[in-house]
Symmetry: C2
Subunit: 176 residues, 2 copies
Amino acid sequence: MLAAAGDLLLREGMAAFTIEKVATLAGASRMTIYKWWPSKGALAFDGYRATVEPTLAFPDTGDLATDLRTQLHAFVRLLTETPAGRVMAELIGQAQTDPELRASLLEHYTVPRRERAAEVMRRAQERGQMRADADPQVVVDQLWGACYHRLLTPDHPLTVDFADALVDNVLRGVAA
Amino acid sequence: MLAAAGDLLLREGMAAFTIEKVATLAGASRMTIYKWWPSKGALAFDGYRATVEPTLAFPDTGDLATDLRTQLHAFVRLLTETPAGRVMAELIGQAQTDPELRASLLEHYTVPRRERAAEVMRRAQERGQMRADADPQVVVDQLWGACYHRLLTPDHPLTVDFADALVDNVLRGVAA
């Protein structure tokens, strides 16, 4: 069910997403779906998470710069080359006036994803690849947060080159 | 009119904002207001810009780190200590499904503000305070974009200490 919901969402976007279509794709009844998900939005968001999770895994090869670039490239491609970007933008947008959606988005998506990114950075700190006094949670906002900024106020392009520049700036600094 | 609109918005937020109240505050008729602004949203956004502009000026004292900190502190305080934060969050949120609002927000707000921030950084590059090969537009996303990220997905606090950590990371880098 989740796979069917996620596939449909990433292929056709939120506008074309219906419980009926998911039911057909999954060979289930609408009744069954409503038993588990209270609304179309809840099913879409759950399907989204389940489907993008493998794409957005945080690698930990032992080299922080490479790992950040790998993850950010996958993240940027997901947001720009599939309907996932529009879906996330609309979810974050709606969350500004929908406290329940906001709570769910934070609890089930942004908080756990932040935590995983921070963990990769903490291991890099233990390996001596990152300053011990730099806060991984701040770096999260300067990498993924910067990408969301270009997604939500799209006056400059969100590209893999941009992702590489983000990693460069944050790792090396921009001071002359 | 703009001053009255901006004052009302920053004092009471978007929910309490009406054309009637602005008319009373400005001693003007509703007809006059409708002649110049097609909607409540348009008037609110124009009033917002006019009112926050002086607060959000970009200083250029000759020291990049100080100037960035000064501007970001004012920006963070505006977003967290006045209803401006909620107003901006709701405007960006609505812009995700309202192409006209998105175009207006980009043209009248984010693009010119980006440009002014980038100009301060280009002058710092000329003074040799910032690497010549660092893209000021990328730094914009890593400072102001990072703040918007905490505003829009509020799972970590948006504070002046956070702003200082952003400037530190981006200027010095986080590599050990």
